[in-house]
Subunit: 216 residues, 2 copies
DNA sequence: GGCGGTTGACTGACCGGACAGTCACCGTTA
DNA sequence: TAACGGTGACTGTCCGGTCAGTCAACCGCC
């Protein structure tokens, strides 16, 4: 957690530091991020960062949690909880794609907690990151099973796992340099992804999910 | 590529260095791996490593490529190319799970080329790593489509992408600390994974794939 | 088979750069 | 003038890569 000072400084300074930190941590990873460079980019002195946070690790954890919060708001914020599971999943994929294209840094931060040398962080954050989505999906599938919209022989845990797995791969494919290359190789796409290439991909994935869940 | 010297030293010394390097790079990541510590673990002097390889980066790339090679041999080696796509996919998942449990380091190396600060490496290796599997799966699906074993309205590229995506998530779930925690949370498993928890998961995933491909 | 010479793998102390975190001082405001 | 946020030069540590020197093995010659 930040020190109190961090919440007493002007909001734009706070935002700028968080923005630059998210960008740098995402671009270079935790260990390769240089606090002096971060200070320079954020337009403050290195010492100031240590007035706001106990340590680099402290800052990193806060930036990650803050990023998860922002992602969640962007993706779940405009969703009507009364929509059926199929419409909600479609919404999540579409809003996710939109959000990740304007703010790839947060998804990269997420992806990095699973990389080598980060197990210290993953022990702190993985559960807290995954629990929200896992619970949400399971509740949603269960609710629509009761409404007769989902086959009643579906294993709720497994189904939620599959939905989220496909979501993770999809999002990573838009953002990580490795997964972008991989997606291009599989779909034999030249150049950047456009709505014209992404729409059928989302369609294919959501169709697969529908197939898994929909009554015969 | 290694220098010639590397191929002139006794095989067990060579193997030991590669083994320890794969282990350390996987455990701590590229940047956090200390060449002095690696030398100590491999039972040689730091200078010797630089008699075998130009640089840390050179060693890393060789260890990764070597690991991919070994993984491929373990997983594709005992497979009969005449088996139908469903049997081959099941074999890949089962052998993959077996291999990754005895040699998690190679899959971790694979997973790490997609992490932050590794884009330099992913540009070098991603294509070469993914191309093999992508081509293999596409060829297999196409062949069995001609044999009438796969629905003829399936998009081969998309189908291969889905199969490999589920495979990646599955393998990562057995190996990365983050994905292990995530799998436990979704499936509500306590403690370690056993065959009893893994078998139904493989079953669920291959069923989903079969559903995607099999004629009505 | 003994001897001098040559080769090349092996070694680890050392160097230089990078970088997290500190601290003594500064400027502003109440 | 006290309190507090801001600052950047400084420090200690870490680590990739180097290199001058060692030594065992091998070779050709007597």
């Amino acid at each position: 957690m930040p020190k109190q000072t961090f919440f007493k400084i002007p909001e734009d300074k706070r935002e700028r530091l968080l923005r630059e930190a998210a960008g740098l941590f995402a671009e270079r990873g935790y260990n390769q991020t240089d606090m002096a460079q971060l200070a320079r980019r954020a337009g403050i002195a290195k010492g100031s960062i240590y007035n706001y946070f106990e340590s680099k690790e402290d800052l990193y954890l806060y930036v990650c949690r803050d990023g998860m919060q922002r992602s969640r708001e962007a993706i779940y914020g405009r969703m009507d909880p009364e929509w059926d599971v199929y419409r909600q999943i479609e919404h999540i994929f579409k809003e996710g794609a939109r959000f990740v294209q304007s703010h790839p840094e947060y998804l990269i931060l997420y992806a990095n907690i699973s990389s080598a040398g980060m197990s210290r962080f993953s022990e702190l954050m993985s559960l807290e990151v995954e629990k929200y989505t896992a619970d949400y999906l399971k509740r949603l599938i269960r609710r629509d099973m009761q409404r007769g919209l989902v086959r009643d022989d579906v294993d709720v845990h497994f189904a939620a796992f599959m939905v989220n797995s496909l979501y993770i791969i999809f999002m990573a494919s838009l953002v990580s340099s490795h997964f972008k290359i991989r997606l291009r190789e599989y779909l034999e796409i030249e150049g950047d992804f456009t709505d014209a290439t992404l729409a059928p991909l989302i369609q294919g994935i959501t169709d697969t999910i529908n197939n898994l869940l929909k009554p015969a």
